[in-house]
C-alpha cells in the first residue's frame, strides 16, 4: 500500500538486537530509503526502544527492537551515513551510545543535560595558513539563531561546522501534555513557516489512531493549504535569494507575490501562515462564493506576474553568474546523506511524498514531481520556480468543482491502544514525519516530530566546501532550513 500514513499494532519487541540491526542493513541494501530512526523510553528504564522507518518498494515499513541503554549499539553511520544525525539524537536523548560514530556531537542540549552550547567540540583544521570564521548564534538579519564556523584557507572554505540547538524549547515533551486531540496550535509552531504541513502530519497520524480517516473533500482542502504554503515559502525564498545577490527587482516582486499568497491563506483561515487551517477531523475554513472567487483571482494574478519575473530572473546574466556552479551537492552525496525534499530533488534525487507515498488524494489529483540535476544554488532556485508552477496547476484542478468543506467537527473518539501511527507529509522543504504511539490504555506515550531540516543541515555544510566564504549566504538561503524545526 502506498500511502503517506501507516498505523500498526506496536510490534513485538522481544527480539535479539543483532537481528534488528541486521534487518536495518538488509533493508538499506535492498534499496529502502531511511525515513527516520529514533528512540523512545521503554517500560524498563534500563532499555530504550528503537524504531526505524523506511520508504521501501511497498511503502512505509517499520523495524523495531529494544536495546540496553548501557550497552549502546554499533553505529551504522560509517556504512550508511544517512543514520548519522539520528544516532546523534538517539545518544543525546536516551544515552544509548552508537559506538564508533564518527561525529558524535550534541544536537540540541536538552534540559537536564550537562552539555552547553559554549563547549561544543568543533572540528579543527591545523595549519599556519588556516583561519576560522565564527558567525552567530545571532545573525545579521531577522532570522533564527544558530552558529556557523568556517575553517578556511584564504577565501576558500574547507569545512563548515553548523552548531544548532539554540532554539531548543522542548516541544516534544509538551506534546505529551494535555489532550492529544488538542495539540494543533502547538504543532503549528514547531516550525512556523511549515505550520500547515506539520498540522496535517499530526492530524493524519491522529486520525489513524482514532480510525476516522477524512473524506476526499477534506483532504483536498488540506492540500490547498499545503500548496499555498509551498508557493508562499518558495516565493519568500526566491525573494531572499534575490536580495542576497542584489537582484532587487526579484527581491521586491517575489516578495510582494508572497504577500498575495499569504493574504489568500488569511482570507480562508484567518492567519497568513495557515494557522487554524487544519484541525483533527477536518479543516476550518471560511469558504464561500466570495472567497473562492478571490482565491481563483489571486492565483491567476500570481501565475501571470510570476511568469514575467521568472523570465527576467532566469535570463539575467548576473543571476546565472552568482548561482550556477555555486554550492554543489552531487546526487551521490545527497543519497548518501539522506537529504530530503527540495534539497534532494535539486540534486537529482527523485523523492517526493506527494508522488511516492500518495494516498487517495494523490491518486485522484496527482501532482508532478520536479527534479533538477545540477545540485547547485541555481538548481535549488529553479526547482522552486518550477514547483510553484506545478502547485498553481494543481490548485486549479483541485479548486475546480470543489464544494464547501464541512466545518471541522470537534474530533472525538478514543485513541486505539498499543498502536504506532506514522505519517509523512511533503512540506515545502521536504518530508515532515510525525510518529505517535499509544500505550495499552490508549494514552499517547510517545510523540516523535521530524522536520526535514534535521537531515538537510549537513547538506548545507557539504555544499560550501571548496566554495568562497562570500558565497555562504546564498548557499544558506538556497537551502532555507529551519532552526526551530531542527531544535524543536
Amino acid at each position: 500500500m502506498n500511502a503517506s500514513r501507516l498505523c500498526l499494532a506496536t510490534p513485538d519487541l522481544a527480539r535479539p538486537p543483532s537481528d534488528f540491526f541486521k534487518e536495518l542493513r538488509q533493508r538499506v541494501a535492498a534499496g529502502a530509503r531511511l525515513v527516520s530512526f529514533y528512540g523512545r523510553p521503554s517500560d524498563d528504564p534500563a532499555e530504550v526502544v528503537l524504531t526505524a522507518v523506511f520508504d521501501a518498494a511497498d511503502g512505509l515499513m517499520v523495524s523495531r527492537a529494544s536495546i540496553l541503554r548501557e550497552h549502546g549499539f554499533h553505529s551504522l553511520t560509517r556504512d550508511v551515513p544517512a543514520f548519522h544525525i539520528f544516532e546523534r539524537e538517539l545518544f543525546e536523548q536516551h544515552g544509548a551510545k552508537p559506538h564508533d560514530h564518527p561525529w558524535l556531537k550534541p544536537v540540541r542540549y536538552p534540559a537536564g543535560g550537562a552539555a552547553r552550547p559554549s563547549d561544543y567540540p568543533f572540528y579543527k583544521i591545523e595549519g599556519k595558513e588556516v583561519h576560522e570564521v565564527a558567525v552567530g548564534p545571532i545573525h545579521a538579519g531577522v532570522i533564527e539563531p544558530g552558529h556557523f564556523r568556517f575553517m578556511c584557507l584564504g577565501e576558500i572554505v574547507h569545512h563548515l561546522e553548523i552548531q544548532l540547538g539554540y532554539q531548543h524549547r522542548g516541544a516534544e515533551a509538551l506534546l505529551l501534555r494535555g489532550s492529544p486531540l488538542a495539540l494543533a496550535p502547538l504543532v503549528e509552531t514547531l516550525a512556523g513557516d511549515t505550520s500547515v504541513a506539520h498540522a496535517w502530519a499530526y492530524c493524519d497520524a491522529l486520525e489513524a489512531l482514532t480510525d476516522r480517516p477524512p473524506d476526499l473533500a477534506t483532504e483536498t482542502w488540506r492540500g490547498v493549504g499545503l500548496e499555498l504554503e509551498r508557493i508562499a515559502m518558495h516565493l519568500a525564498g526566491l525573494s531572499g535569494m534575490c536580495a542576497d545577490i542584489a537582484f532587487m527587482q526579484g527581491a521586491s516582486t517575489y516578495g510582494r507575490l508572497r504577500t498575495t499568497a499569504i493574504n489568500t491563506s488569511m482570507l480562508l483561515c484567518g492567519s497568513r501562515l495557515g494557522h487554524g487551517w487544519i484541525r483533527p477531523g477536518g479543516v476550518r475554513l471560511g469558504v464561500d462564493g466570495r472567497t473562492v472567487a478571490a482565491l481563483t483571482s489571486n492565483l491567476a494574478l500570481i501565475r501571470r506576474d510570476i511568469a514575467i519575473i521568472n523570465r527576467h530572473f532566469c535570463q539575467a546574466r548576473s543571476v546565472g553568474h552568482r548561482l550556477r556552479g555555486v554550492g554543489v551537492v552531487s546526487t551521490g552525496q545527497a543519497l548518501e546523506l539522506g537529504l530530503v525534499g527540495m534539497a534532494a530533488r535539486a540534486s537529482g534525487v527523485e523523492i517526493d511524498a506527494r508522488t511516492r507515498l500518495r494516498g487517495e488524494l494523490g491518486t485522484q489529483l496527482p501532482i508532478q514531481m520536479v527534479v533538477e540535476t545540477s545540485g547547485d544554488c541555481w538548481a535549488r532556485a529553479s526547482l522552486r520556480i518550477r514547483e510553484i508552477d506545478e502547485s498553481l496547476a494543481w490548485l486549479d484542478a483541485a479548486i475546480a468543482g470543489q464544494t464547501t468543506p464541512a466545518a471541522a467537527p470537534a474530533q472525538r473518539g478514543e485513541l486505539a491502544p498499543d498502536r504506532l501511527a506514522i505519517s509523512v507529509q511533503e512540506g515545502w522543504r521536504g518530508e515532515v514525519v510525525h510518529c505517535l504511539e499509544t500505550d495499552a490504555a490508549g494514552a499517547l506515550r510517545h510523540y516523535r516530530v521530524q522536520d526535514p531540516s534535521l537531515r538537510n543541515w549537513f547538506g548545507l555544510a557539504l555544499s560550501v566546501r571548496s566554495n568562497e566564504i562570500s558565497d555562504f549566504p546564498i548557499c544558506n538561503k538556497s537551502f532555507d532550513l529551519s532552526y526551530c524545526g531542527n531544535d524543536l
Binding site: P117, I138, A171, D193, S252, T253, L273, R284, I308, H312
Partner: protein, 254 residues
C-alpha cells in the same frame, strides 16, 4: 532590459499608502467579547484555551498569551466572543493587553515623549529570536517589504546591536539562547528599549512551561511595547511602534 521593464510594469505600485488605515479581510485580530454576563459557572472557553489566556468570570482575554487559535470562539455555547479584523492590538503595558466585555476599541499605546524626541525620525532595530519558530521572524521581515515599507519612517532592522536603538525580541526565550541574548542586548548602546513580539516573547505563550525555556531575561527587563499575535500581523507591529513614537497619529486620533 525589456524583461526589467516588463517586471516594472507588472509591479505597478505596491506600497500601502496609509499604514494607519487598512481594512484587512479575513484577519483574525482583536477579539470582541459580548456584554451580557456569562452563564454562571461556564468554563467552556477557559477549558479549551491552550495558553490559559482567558480568566475571570466576565471573561477577560489576555492578548499577551493568546495565539488566536479560535478554539474559545467555537467552544462558547452563547457565541459571546469572536475575533474581528482589527490589527491594532499593541500596548505599552501588560494591562493594556487584556480585553474585557463590551470594549471594542483598542486601548491606545501611550506616546512616549522621551522616545518621540530621540527616535521619532529614526529608529534602528535589532531582532533577536530566542526560540521564535520563524512565524514572527517572517512577519518582522515583511514590515520592510515593498507593501509595508516601514523604512519610509526611518524605521529599519540593522545587522549589529551596536547600530541599534531597540531590541525586538521574539520567541519564548530558550535556555540555550540566554547568554547570546544577554550579550546582544548589552551590545546595544544606551538609551535603548525593548519590543516584545508575539505571544511567546510576551508571556511564553504555548511554551511558557516548556522544559528548555528560561524566561529570566524577561523578569529583569521590561519591554516598552508589546505586540501580540501568533505571529503578529505586520500592521500590528507597525502601528504599535508608530503610536509609541508618536509618528503620524491615526486619523481622528490624538
Amino acid at each position: 532590459m525589456f524583461n526589467a521593464l516588463k517586471v516594472r510594469l507588472s509591479q505597478g505600485s505596491q506600497y500601502i499608502p496609509d499604514l494607519r488605515d487598512v481594512t484587512l479581510v479575513g484577519f483574525r485580530g482583536r477579539p470582541v467579547i459580548g456584554e451580557p454576563p456569562c452563564e454562571a459557572g461556564c468554563q467552556a472557553c477557559r477549558d479549551v484555551c491552550p495558553t490559559a489566556a482567558i480568566a475571570g468570570p466576565e471573561p477577560r482575554l489576555d492578548l499577551g498569551r493568546c495565539v488566536f487559535c479560535n478554539e474559545c470562539v467555537l467552544a462558547c455555547p452563547d457565541q459571546k466572543l469572536h475575533f474581528g479584523p482589527d490589527y491594532r492590538m499593541a500596548s505599552g503595558t501588560l494591562d493594556g493587553l487584556v480585553v474585557g466585555p463590551g470594549k471594542a476599541e483598542a486601548s491606545p499605546v501611550a506616546v512616549s515623549e522621551a522616545l518621540h524626541r530621540r527616535f521619532g525620525r529614526s529608529l534602528k532595530l535589532r531582532s533577536v529570536s530566542a526560540g521564535g519558530c520563524n512565524g514572527c521572524e517572517l512577519e518582522l521581515n515583511a514590515v520592510g517589504n515593498v507593501n509595508f515599507d516601514l523604512g519610509r519612517y526611518g524605521i529599519e532592522f540593522v545587522a549589529s546591536p551596536r547600530h541599534a536603538d531597540a531590541l525586538v525580541l521574539s520567541g519564548p526565550l530558550t535556555r540555550n539562547m540566554n547568554q547570546a541574548l544577554e550579550t546582544g542586548y548589552a551590545g546595544i548602546p544606551e538609551p535603548k528599549f525593548i519590543i516584545a513580539v508575539g505571544a511567546c516573547a510576551i508571556s511564553g505563550g504555548l511554551y511558557a512551561d516548556a522544559p528548555s525555556v528560561d524566561r529570566s531575561f524577561a523578569t529583569r527587563f521590561t519591554p516598552s511595547l508589546y505586540v501580540p499575535g501568533c505571529p503578529p500581523h505586520p500592521l500590528t507591529f507597525v502601528n504599535g511602534i508608530m503610536d509609541l513614537l508618536g509618528i503620524r497619529p491615526p486619523r481622528g486620533g490624538a
